[in-house]
C-alpha cells in the first residue's frame, strides 16, 4: 500500500510538472506578454519599447529557463542598471549589497508565488484567502449534496419502475437540467425579494465571507448542491438498479433476508463503487465551476479570482490558480483510487 501511494505520488508530481508547464507556456506566449507590458507600462508603447520593458522585467529569455525560475529550480534573474540591481527575488530596486543578501532561488518551491498585477498584492495571500472562502462553500455543498444525492439514488434504484423511482428520477433530471444561473435567480426572486414576500434568506452572500450563517449562506450552497445532486443521484440510481438485479441479491432474497437488510447490507456497498468516482470528480468541478454562483451571490472565492486573473492577464495569479487546480484534481483522484480499493474488495493491493 505504501509503495503504491509512493508510486502514485511520483506519477502525480510528473503530471503536475507537465500540466503547469503547459499552462506556463500558454500564459507566457508573446501576445500575452505584449498585452501585459502595455497594461503595466504605456498603451502607446512601440514594439521596441515593449521588448525592452519585457527584458527589463525578466520576461525575456527562453521559456524553459523562465519556467525553471518560476518553479524555483533555476536562480532568479538579476539585472544591474545605473539605479541599482533589480531581479526576480528583489523587491523594487536594491543596492548591490542588498541584492547580494537576497535569495538566489525564488519560485513556488520556495513559497514565492509571485506578485499579482491585478490586485497589487502577493499571490499567495490572495490564493489562500479566496481558496478558504471557496473551501467553506465546497464543504457545505458536499455536506448537503452527497448524502441527499445518495439517498435519492438508493431510494429510486432499489425498486426500479415504481412511483418513488419515477418521482425521484424526474426530480433529479429536473435539477440537473436547470443551470445554476437559472435556479440561483429563481431562488433569489422567491426567497429574498419582496415580490413573493418570502424574505427568508439574504440575496447576497457578501457578508458570509466574514460571518457565514444559515441566512446568508444557504442559498448559494443550495443552488450548487441541487445542480450537482441530480447527476450523482442518477449515477447512484443506475448503479443501484444494476446491483438489485444481480444474482447475489437473489441469493440474499431467497435466504430470507428482509428487503430492508438486502438494501443496507448487501446492495449498498456494491452500489456505491461507481458513484464514488463521480463524487470525487465533483471536487475539481466545484473548485472552478462555482464561478457563476459566486458572481451571482457576490461571494468572492476561487472562481472569482480565476475570472479576474484571466480577464486581466494576471500571469502569476493565473499560474497559481492552475497549480492549485491541478493539485486538487490529482489529490482527489488519488483519494478516489484508494477509496475504490477499500470499497471494492476484488481490487486489492497485495
Amino acid at each position: 500500500m505504501g509503495l503504491f501511494i509512493l508510486r502514485r505520488s511520483g506519477v502525480m508530481l510528473l503530471t503536475a510538472l507537465c500540466l503547469t508547464f503547459i499552462v506556463f507556456f500558454l500564459t507566457n506566449l508573446y501576445p500575452n506578454l505584449e498585452k501585459l507590458a502595455k497594461t503595466q507600462g504605456n498603451f502607446r508603447m512601440s514594439d521596441e519599447a515593449v521588448a525592452s520593458w519585457l527584458d527589463a522585467n525578466g520576461y525575456g529569455g527562453s521559456m524553459v529557463s523562465k519556467y525553471g525560475q518560476w518553479l524555483g529550480v533555476l536562480p532568479g534573474w538579476t539585472r544591474e542598471t545605473e539605479k541599482g540591481v533589480t531581479g526576480r527575488c528583489i523587491t523594487g530596486t536594491a543596492s548591490a549589497e542588498q541584492a547580494a543578501e537576497a535569495p538566489t532561488f525564488c519560485g513556488i518551491l520556495q513559497g514565492d508565488w509571485g506578485y499579482s498585477t491585478r490586485f497589487k498584492d502577493e499571490v499567495s495571500d490572495i490564493i489562500s484567502e479566496r481558496l478558504g472562502n471557496t473551501g467553506l462553500l465546497m464543504f457545505w455543498v458536499l455536506m448537503l449534496m452527497v448524502p441527499s444525492a445518495l439517498l435519492i439514488g438508493v431510494l429510486a434504484g432499489m425498486r426500479e419502475g415504481t412511483a418513488t423511482d419515477r418521482t425521484l428520477s424526474t426530480a433529479s433530471i429536473l435539477t440537473t437540467a436547470t443551470p445554476e444561473y437559472v435556479s440561483g435567480v429563481i431562488f433569489i426572486a422567491v426567497f429574498t425579494s419582496s415580490t413573493v414576500g418570502l424574505k427568508w434568506f439574504k440575496g447576497t452572500a457578501t457578508s458570509a465571507m466574514d460571518n457565514p450563517n444559515f441566512e446568508n449562506f444557504f442559498l448559494p450552497v443550495l443552488t450548487i448542491a441541487l445542480y450537482g445532486m441530480g447527476y450523482i443521484a442518477r449515477m447512484t440510481r443506475a448503479s443501484m438498479t444494476e446491483v438489485m438485479t444481480a444474482q447475489y441479491i437473489r441469493t440474499a432474497r431467497l435466504k430470507g433476508v428482509s428487503f430492508h437488510n438486502i438494501v443496507l447490507k448487501h446492495a449498498l456497498r456494491n452500489a456505491l463503487i461507481a458513484p464514488f468516482t463521480v463524487i470525487m470528480l465533483q471536487f475539481p468541478w466545484l473548485l472552478n465551476g462555482v464561478v457563476i454562483v459566486e458572481t451571482l451571490f457576490n461571494y468572492k472565492g476561487f472562481g472569482w479570482v480565476l475570472v479576474e486573473a484571466a480577464g486581466n492577464n494576471d500571469i502569476e495569479l493565473l499560474l497559481a490558480v492552475s497549480v492549485v487546480s491541478v493539485v486538487v484534481v490529482l489529490v482527489t483522484q488519488l483519494i478516489s483510487d484508494i477509496g475504490y480499493v477499500y470499497l471494492n474488495p476484488r481490487i486489492r493491493i497485495s
Binding site: 509503495l3 503504491f4 508510486r7 419502475g161 444481480a246 444474482q247 447475489y248 437473489r250 441469493t251 440474499a252 432474497r253 431467497l254 435466504k255 430470507g256 433476508v257 428482509s258 447490507k265 448487501h266 456497498r269 456494491n270 463503487i273 470499497l343 471494492n344 474488495p345 476484488r346 481490487i347 493491493i349 497485495s350
Partner: protein
C-alpha cells in the same frame, strides 16, 4: 423463526402448475400443466434443454418470479401448505430456512463485497435468532462439512479469493446452514470442471443423506441426474413429458422426446463410424409459437397427422406396470420402443494420411507481474505449456482433453499465431511457424490453420449479415477474383454447413445458437482450411443441437480431408469422434495415444480420474469411483516434480517419493501410446478399466 410442524405427506407437491410471463405484447406461457411430487428424503431430477421452463419451476417454488412472472394456475404445496397463499413475512421465514437453493454460477451468487463468514452467518441469525458467536460456530461446522480446508481462513475471505469449486461448496454450505427440508439445485455444476463436478456431486449426495434433505435437481445433463436422483421428470417446452423412477425412464422410456434425447448424446463404447449420433431434427419452439397439440410433434419420428396436431391438450397418461411412471404421448402404447435404431449410413473410417502438423518440445511461458493492477512486484513465470510434442495427420481427429487451466487454449493460441512460442518448434508442412505471429503469416498459412470457437454468440459481428461475414473471410483468404465469384462460393459454403441459402442476408441475432455455430464453421472452412482447431465447439449448445453440429464437423472433415484438433473436456464426445487423444494437465501432456489406448487401461492416473468423473447416462454402465481431492494447482505455482502428484491416488506405489522430486519422463507403452508417469510397468498392468458395461 422456527421450522414448520412435521408433515407426513410429500415435502413438495406441485399440481397442474402454470406460470406465465407478461410482456407488453402478450402473455408468454413458460410452464404449463406441470405436476411433480417430492417425497421426504427423495431426490427428483428435472431434465430438459435450455428454455424448457425448468428454472422457472424452481423460482416458482421460491415464489420469486419477478415483476412479470405470475402463477396463472395450479398450486405449489410445501409440507401441505399452499405457498402462493402465504404472506411475504411467512415466505421469508421459509426461504433459506425450509427451502434452500443452490445456483448455477457460484461467483455471481455470492456477494462480492461481503466476507464469506458474514454471508453464511446471516442465515441462522435471521431464521433462528442465534447470537453472532453461535452462528460463527455453525458456519465453521458447515464449512468443515463441505470439506473445505482451513475453514477459519475461508470464513474470513472474500468470494473472489476462492476457486470456482470452493465457491460452489460455500453456496452449498450456505444452503445447508439451517438444515432445510428441501434443497433446490439449479444446474449446480455446469460452470465447474469435470473432476470438480464429480466431487461436488458426491458431496451433495452425502450431505443429502446426512441431513435427510429432499432435493429437486435441475440439470440438462442426463448422466448427472442418473448419478444423483431417485426419480426424474423430463420437460419439453414448458411441459413435463415423462415422469417416473430413474430406472423406468432410462431403461423403458415411453416418450419420443426422451428417446430422442438419449439418442443424441454419445455413450461410451460408441464411436462415430459405428453408431452416428441421431440429432433431433428442427428447432425448439419459441414459447409463443408452440404448435397445436403435441409440442414435440413437428420434431417427432412417430408423428401422426390429424392426431398429434389436433388442437387439444394432451394429458399425462400412466404407464401400466411401473410405479408412478407417466408420459404425455398419445401413441406411447403403439410405438415399439425396443425397435433397434435404424443406422442411417455407416461411415467408413478414413485412413489418416501424411503428417501435416508436427510439434516438437513446444514451450510457452508467460511472465506476469505478481501485482497485475498496480504494476511492479517481482515477475512470476506461468508455464502454460511444457514440452508439447505430437504429430497430426491428414483427415485425422486429434482430441485435446483437460480441465480449465491445463494449457489447451494457450496451445491453440500459439498454433494460430496469436502468441509466439517460447521454445521448441511447430512444423506445418515442414515449415517452422512457431515464431511467426499472425500479422506476419502469409494468406496461405492463415487460411490453412483456422479455428471454430466455443461461444458462437460472441464470435460473429452482430452488425453484419451472415453472408457478408463469410465473404469477408473469403476476401481475406484471397478466394475468388470478383464479388460475384465470392458470393457464389459463399452460397456453396452455406450448402456445406446445411444452412438455407436465404440465411446469407440474415443478421446473426436472427439465428439460433446451433445455426450461428454453423456459420462459424463455414467461416473457418472458407479458405479451404487443412487444420481446424475446434475449441469446445459444442459445449455452449443444447444437447439436441450438439449432435447435429458434431456430425456436420465430421462430415466436412471426411469431405475435405481436414485435420481436426478437437479441444474438449467432454470425454464422451471425445471418445465418440476422435482418432487419437491427448490428455493435458497443468501444461504437460500426461497421456497420448489412440482413442482405444487412452480409454482402456493402463491409464495415466489423471486420465483414470477424468474418466471416472464423467457422468454417463446409461444404467448398464458401472464406473469405478475415483474422486480427486482439492483443486487444480495454479500454473503460477506448480507443485515440484510430477504436476499431478498433489491429487494422485497412485502416488504411494512409487517408491522413494520420486513423484515429488522429478518430473516423470515420457514412456512409450507401444503402438504410439505414451504416458508421463513414474508408475512401474507392473502397477500399470494392475489397473482395471474404469468404465464397464454390465452384462445384460
Amino acid at each position: 423463526m422456527t421450522k414448520m410442524a412435521d408433515y407426513n405427506g410429500p415435502i413438495l407437491e406441485i399440481d397442474k402448475l402454470s406460470i406465465s410471463f407478461f410482456t407488453r405484447l402478450r402473455e408468454i406461457p413458460a410452464v404449463m400443466d406441470f405436476s411433480v411430487a417430492v417425497q421426504p428424503g427423495e431426490a427428483v431430477g428435472l431434465v430438459g434443454e435450455s428454455g424448457c421452463g425448468k428454472s422457472t419451476v424452481a423460482l416458482g417454488v421460491m415464489q420469486d418470479l419477478g415483476k412479470n412472472g405470475r402463477i396463472v394456475g395450479g398450486t405449489i404445496k410445501f409440507k401441505g401448505r399452499d405457498l402462493s397463499e402465504m404472506s411475504a413475512e411467512e415466505l421469508r421465514g421459509i426461504r433459506g430456512n425450509e427451502i434452500a437453493m443452490i445456483y448455477q454460477e457460484p461467483m455471481a451468487s455470492l456477494n462480492p463485497a461481503m466476507r464469506i463468514g458474514k454471508q453464511l452467518m446471516e442465515v441462522p441469525v435471521i431464521h433462528e435468532g442465534v447470537s453472532e458467536k453461535e452462528a460463527y460456530q455453525r458456519a465453521l461446522e458447515v464449512v468443515t462439512d463441505v470439506r473445505l480446508p482451513d475453514p477459519e481462513r475461508i470464513l474470513n475471505s472474500f468470494p473472489h479469493q476462492l476457486s470456482g469449486g470452493q465457491q460452489q461448496r460455500i453456496v452449498i454450505a450456505m444452503a445447508l446452514m439451517s438444515k432445510p427440508s428441501l434443497l433446490i439445485l439449479d444446474e449446480p455444476t455446469t460452470a465447474l470442471d469435470v473432476t470438480v463436478e464429480a466431487a461436488v456431486v458426491e458431496l451433495v449426495k452425502d450431505l443429502g443423506k446426512k441431513y435427510g434433505t429432499s432435493m429437486l435437481f435441475i440439470s440438462h445433463n442426463l448422466g448427472l441426474v442418473l448419478e444423483t436422483c431417485d426419480r426424474i421428470c423430463v420437460m419439453y417446452s414448458g411441459e413435463a413429458v415423462e415422469r417416473g423412477s430413474i430406472h423406468d425412464v432410462f431403461d423403458e422410456m415411453q416418450h419420443p422426446y426422451t428417446q430422442a434425447l438419449f439418442r443424441s448424446i454419445p455413450l461410451p463404447g460408441a464411436d462415430k463410424n459405428a453408431r452416428p449420433l441421431v440429432a433431433i431434427p428442427g428447432n425448439f419452439p419459441l414459447p409463443h409459437e408452440r404448435p397445436p397439440g403435441c409440442n414435440f410433434g413437428p420434431r417427432c419420428d412417430y408423428f401422426e397427422e390429424g392426431r398429434c396436431d389436433a388442437d387439444r391438450v394432451i394429458p399425462m397418461a400412466p404407464v401400466h406396470g411401473n410405479d408412478r411412471h407417466e408420459t404425455r404421448c398419445l401413441r406411447f402404447e403403439e410405438i415399439d420402443w425396443n425397435a433397434p435404431l435404424t443406422l442411417a449410413d455407416q461411415k467408413e473410417k478414413m485412413p489418416p494420411g501424411k503428417v501435416i502438423l508436427k510439434m516438437e518440445n513446444l514451450k510457452k511461458y508467460y511472465e506476469v507481474a505478481a501485482n497485475a493492477l498496480f504494476g511492479g512486484g517481482e515477475k512470476k513465470v506461468v508455464k502454460a505449456n511444457e514440452t508439447l510434442s505430437f504429430e497430426a495427420r491428414e483427415s485425422e481427429t486429434l482430441a485435446i482433453v483437460g480441465e480449465s487451466g491445463c494449457g489447451k487454449s494457450t496451445f491453440a493460441k500459439v498454433l494460430m499465431g496469436l502468441e509466439t512460442a517460447t521454445e521448441g518448434q511447430i512444423l506445418l508442412d515442414n515449415r517452422n511457424i512457431e515464431q511467426i505471429p499472425i500479422e506476419e503469416r502469409d494468406t496461405k498459412t492463415i487460411s490453412d490453420v483456422q479455428m471454430v470457437f466455443q461461444n458462437p454468440f460472441d464470435t460473429l459481428n452482430p452488425s453484419m449479415t451472415v453472408g457478408r461475414q463469410i465473404m469477408r473471410a473469403l476476401e481475406i483468404f484471397g478466394v475468388g477474383g470478383s464479388e460475384a465469384e465470392r458470393r457464389r462460393r459463399m452460397l456453396e459454403l452455406l450448402d456445406l454447413v446445411k444452412l438455407p441459402r436465404a440465411f446469407a442476408d440474415r443478421m446473426p441475432r436472427q439465428l439460433s445458437g446451433g445455426q450461428k455455430q454453423r456459420v462459424g464453421i463455414a467461416r473457418a472452412f472458407a479458405g479451404g482450411a487443412r487444420i481446424v482447431v475446434a475449441d469446445e465447439p459444442v459445449s455452449a449448445l443444447d444437447v439436441s443441437v450438439q449432435a447435429a453440429v458434431t456430425d456436420l464437423l465430421m462430415e466436412i472433415q471426411r469431405k475435405e480431408k481436414t485435420t481436426l484438433l478437437f479441444i474438449s473436456h467432454d470425454l464422451s464426445i471425445v471418445r465418440y469422434l476422435s482418432d487419437r487423444v491427448m490428455v493435458m494437465y497443468l501444461g504437460h501432456v500426461v497421456e497420448l495415444g489412440t482413442t482405444d489406448q487412452v480409454f482402456a487401461p493402463p491409464y495415466h492416473p489423471y486420465t483414470e480420474a477424468l474418466l471416472s468423473a464423467v457422468p454417463i447416462a446409461d444404467t448398464s454402465v458401472v464406473k469405478e469411483h475415483i474422486v480427486l481431492e482439492g483443486d487444480i494447482p495454479s500454473a503460477m505455482n506448480p507443485p515440484p516434480g510430477c504436476p499431478f502428484q498433489t491429487r494422485c491416488r497412485w502416488k504411494s506405489e512409487v517408491p522413494g517419493g520420486l513423484c515429488e522430486r522429478e518430473v516423470p519422463p515420457v514412456r512409450q507403452l507401444g503402438g504410439g501410446h505414451q504416458v508421463k508417469c513414474h508408475l512401474s510397468d507392473e502397477v500399470l498392468e494392475r489397473m482395471k478399466p474404469v468404465i464397464k458395461v454390465a452384462a445384460e
